[in-house]
Symmetry: C2
DNA sequence: CCACCTGTTATAACATAAATATAACAGGTG
DNA sequence: CACCTGTTATATTTATGTTATAACAGGTGG
């Protein structure tokens, strides 16, 4: 999967990397069991340091999106199916985002349509 | 409005402050035209430095949630009504959040219900 | 006019985090 | 044994967050 990093962004590189891999999984550009490039290879491709990639992989592993096998390396493994916990995690960020949306004059319907559209886009990529 | 800062959080203080004020506006605990404590007073109340508060106010002003009058100080002023631009801003963060939600096994319906519930909660505080 | 409040700016110091660099280690593969 | 994997350690540089002290322009009320 092609990874694009915006070096002029105020978002940390390892965070951008995490986000893009998560987006990749959500849009099925990365499928379950698929092997990620090694930390050194990925670092070379992007042109960043090995440890920055390692940090991203470690976070993804901790979040339950990636697992590591000694022989194969890091690979996609979405195992979390604790719906309550997942909802709780998402709700925290959603509250802040919806507050912003409401302050900017967006209605509930605006957001529902936005969610519907993006979710369909992700599903449609299957 | 009561501001609570989690000093053990990994989130920056000025960012927490911004979020709480935005949440305050969304839930109508802060109404349009309401004056915010001065940067020095707010800093004293929370127990942080004046510049940290000033940074939060500056960002809120830049984002269009706050305006400044020489005599009154900072006050709530939500003037943005550019729906297209607002949607564009929210969409960027929403894409990442929905990707996370989808990776954690949450369905579109799960998210639509979550949005519906939070938005009603914000509206109900009127 | 004067003391007092506002936000704003400047400068310096310090702490923390991000990113890079170099190196080494344990374990698995061919 | 050479080569790959992730992981760990240590050090350095850079950027950001936070605090500290100080000053300035402008508005308010005594």
């Amino acid at each position: 999967m092609l990874i694009e990093i915006d070096f002029s962004s105020d978002e940390a590189i390892y965070q951008q990397l995490c986000n893009q891999i998560i987006l990749g999984i959500a849009t099925s550009r990365l499928s379950d069991g698929e092997v990620l490039p090694s930390v050194r290879q990925m670092a070379d491709e992007i042109g960043i340091n090995m440890h920055t990639v390692n940090k991203a992989y470690s976070i993804l592993r901790q979040e339950g999106f990636v697992k590591v096998d000694r022989r194969r390396g890091a690979f996609i493994s979405v195992t979390e199916r604790n719906r309550e916990r997942a909802l709780h995690i998402v709700e925290k960020d959603m509250r802040i985002l919806l507050a912003q949306a409401r302050c900017r004059g967006l209605s509930k319907q605006d957001i529902l349509l936005l969610v519907d559209r993006i979710y369909d886009e992700y599903d449609g990529a299957n």
